[in-house]
């Protein structure tokens, strides 16, 4: 079996993740009306979703200078942005005061999450799932012509069989209107619409999470390729000095070729210099400026000069 080159594989992963995101976006953009026909969910919610995604990108990665460096990376970034917009528009209440409250909540949460990797952390997925559940609940209520989040019966009063008491027999919490829900003119067929939205949500979340991982691997491959231009022994040393697991933190991702090479040079020089300095220090007690000591200081000194103390696990 011939070995598969790594770079095309990660590029394909990135693109397949984009396919999932796009398919999820397609499902989240549809609903089924009372006539049994597919109807669009409209552009207003998508517009709001795009604004929230933009806020997440701007405020979440304000200090981040990463940007896509080739067509695959750029396409993936566009898919990532659209996927986030689809996802947010899919979980938001379609209109009214509820939507603006949710927009505020999501903008804050996504902006905070954007500073870390990945944007869709477990907590964020849980929050989005809760918002989707809320949307499904109010859609269900609306499909039953109940225009409130919940109706609570007033004890005693609600059991009295007098119609004139009807206005005070129950308390409606969180009222909304059919227009706020963005229902089609023929009404919503709840069950198939729920299936579409739930499937779209899952596809978008999985696609975005996969894209996020694949994007890191794709960038790692690019950096590997640059390091691979060095003679093999030298490349091996550079990868030992700058382990792949630190490349995101070291700001190597998203750098153009020339700045990437310069950054690698700087990092290698700095790390080798630090190592040499440390080696010199450990070889010279005078340089450390300490005498034989006992206790905590002695243990530290012994670790620097002789290596770690043997344990029961080490022979």
């Amino acid at each position: 079996m011939s070995p598969q080159p790594r770079e095309p594989l990660t590029a394909r992963q990135l693109l397949y993740a984009c396919v999932l995101v796009a398919l999820g976006g397609l499902l989240l953009g549809l609903q089924v009306d009372g006539n049994g026909e597919f109807v669009g969910t409209g552009y207003s919610s998508l517009g709001v979703g795009a604004l929230v995604a933009l806020a997440a990108v701007l405020f979440g990665s304000g200090r981040d200078t990463r940007s896509p460096r080739d067509l695959v990376g750029a396409f993936s970034a566009v898919c990532g942005f659209l996927g986030l917009a689809f996802l947010v528009s899919g979980v938001l209440a379609p209109g009214g005061g509820w939507m603006f409250f949710e927009v505020l909540l999501l903008s804050i949460a996504l902006s905070r999450a954007g500073r870390e990797q990945p944007v869709l952390s477990r907590g964020m997925v849980a929050l989005l799932s809760l918002l989707l559940l809320f949307r499904l609940w109010i859609s269900y209520q609306g499909s039953q012509h109940r225009w409130e989040v919940v109706s609570l019966d007033v004890p005693v009063l609600s059991s009295l069989p007098f119609d004139f008491l009807a206005p005070i027999q129950s308390v409606e919490l969180g009222e909304f209107t059919p227009r706020e829900l963005g229902f089609p003119p023929a009404g919503l067929d709840f069950a198939p619409s729920l299936a579409l939205w739930a499937a779209g949500f899952v596809l978008c979340v999985v696609g975005l999470a996969w894209r996020s991982r694949a994007a890191i691997e794709y960038e790692n491959d690019r950096i590997h390729a640059v390091i691979g231009e060095l003679p093999p022994t030298l490349a091996h040393i550079v990868e030992r000095v700058l382990p792949e697991s630190q490349w995101v933190e070291l700001g190597l991702h998203g750098l153009a070729d020339r700045p990437l090479r310069k950054r690698l040079e700087e990092l290698v020089v700095a790390r080798i210099a630090a190592r040499r300095e440390l080696e010199l220090a450990t070889q010279s007690r005078e340089l450390l400026g300490v005498a034989d000591l006992g206790g905590f200081s002695g243990e530290i000194l012994r670790a620097l000069t002789q290596g770690p103390a043997p344990t029961k696990d080490t022979p």
């Binding site: 011939s2 070995p3 598969q4 080159p5 095309p8 590029a11 394909r12 693109l15 397949y16 984009c18 396919v19 995101v21 796009a22 398919l23 976006g25 397609l26 989240l28 953009g29 549809l30 009306d33 009372g34 006539n35 026909e37 597919f38 109807v39 669009g40 969910t41 409209g42 552009y43 998508l46 695959v72 396409f75 898919c79 659209l82 689809f86 499909s143 039953q144 012509h145 109940r146 109706s151 069989p161 007098f162 119609d163 009807a166 027999q169 089609p184 003119p185 023929a186 009404g187 067929d189 709840f190 069950a191």
Partner: protein, 270 residues
């Protein structure tokens, strides 16, 4: 250059192009589908006319039914035709407003019950003929309970209509000939049911719950979502087909519309 690497380099653009094309097409569709407009609810009277369907079937349920009822003679199934012709003449000749129960116990009344049972299990023309007779009996006999809450007449009539709705309710909603009569039957049934549970003060709780359950079976599926009949009702009268259990008196709005739909059909032969 080794062979596998060369192969990979040759095929890479193709391998990448396919998902890019698919994803681009899906993204374009995801944006486009959002603009698909929803059509208005399909009113039963707007359904495409069936070539064999009787024109304006609602006229046969109205006050002027006597002028058109003979049109059904040649549509009713052959084996029932003679009985139908005799009984429709008898029904349209009922006068002096007898109590419904009393009339149903006459020779003609018992024959009507037998014929009704046969007709509702027949073709859609037979079903329409059955409903025409039932509505005419509701119009020409007295079933209003009055102050003494004599509900047995409304109950007998309501039970017959319930049988018809059980047989045809779901099928009729999408039938060009029977969709409107089915909605009318639903409204009349609400009127009859209310007559059985309303009292001078309040209502009979047990009968009310039973009536609501009967309507929920007609208007809601197992998941609590509106049936096709409920959607047709909503298209004609927005808000009537859903949320039955959420109302204080779930059938009151249906009864109110029935009053407009069947003017004078109040169990008092007015």
């Amino acid at each position: 250059m080794s062979e596998p690497v060369r192969e990979a380099q040759v095929s890479r653009p193709t391998l990448e192009a396919l998902p890019v094309l698919v994803a681009t097409a899906l993204l374009a569709m995801a944006l486009f589908v959002r603009s698909i407009p929803g059509g208005p609810p399909l009113d039963p009277s707007d359904r495409t006319r069936d070539r064999d369907a009787l024109r304006e079937p609602m006229q046969l349920l109205g006050r002027g039914a006597a002028t058109r009822v003979a049109e059904l003679d040649e549509r009713v199934s052959l084996e029932l035709r003679a009985e139908w012709t005799r009984l429709r003449q008898a029904v349209f000749a009922v006068s002096r407003c007898p109590r419904t129960g009393d009339w149903l116990d006459t020779v003609d009344g018992l024959a009507f019950e037998r014929l009704f049972s046969e007709l509702r299990r027949g073709s859609r023309d037979d079903a329409l003929a059955a409903q025409v007779l039932l509505v005419e009996i509701a119009r020409r006999t007295k079933w209003a309970p009055g102050l003494l809450a004599r509900t047995s007449d409304a109950e007998r009539l309501g039970a017959l209509l319930q049988e018809w709705m059980r047989t045809w309710g779901s099928r009729a909603a999408s039938d060009a000939q029977l969709s409107e009569p089915a909605l009318a039957g639903l409204l009349l049934q609400a009127r009859l049911e209310r007559a059985t549970y309303l009292r001078a003060l309040g209502r009979d709780r047990e009968r009310y719950d039973r009536a609501v359950e009967t309507f929920q079976r007609l208007l809601e599926d197992a998941q609590g979502q509106p049936t096709e009949l409920a959607r047709a009702l909503d298209a004609r009268h927005p808000g009537l087909g859903t949320g039955l259990a959420g109302r204080k008196d779930g059938l009151e709005p249906l009864d109110t519309v029935a009053g407009r739909f069947f003017p004078g059909l109040n169990g008092e032969c007015e």
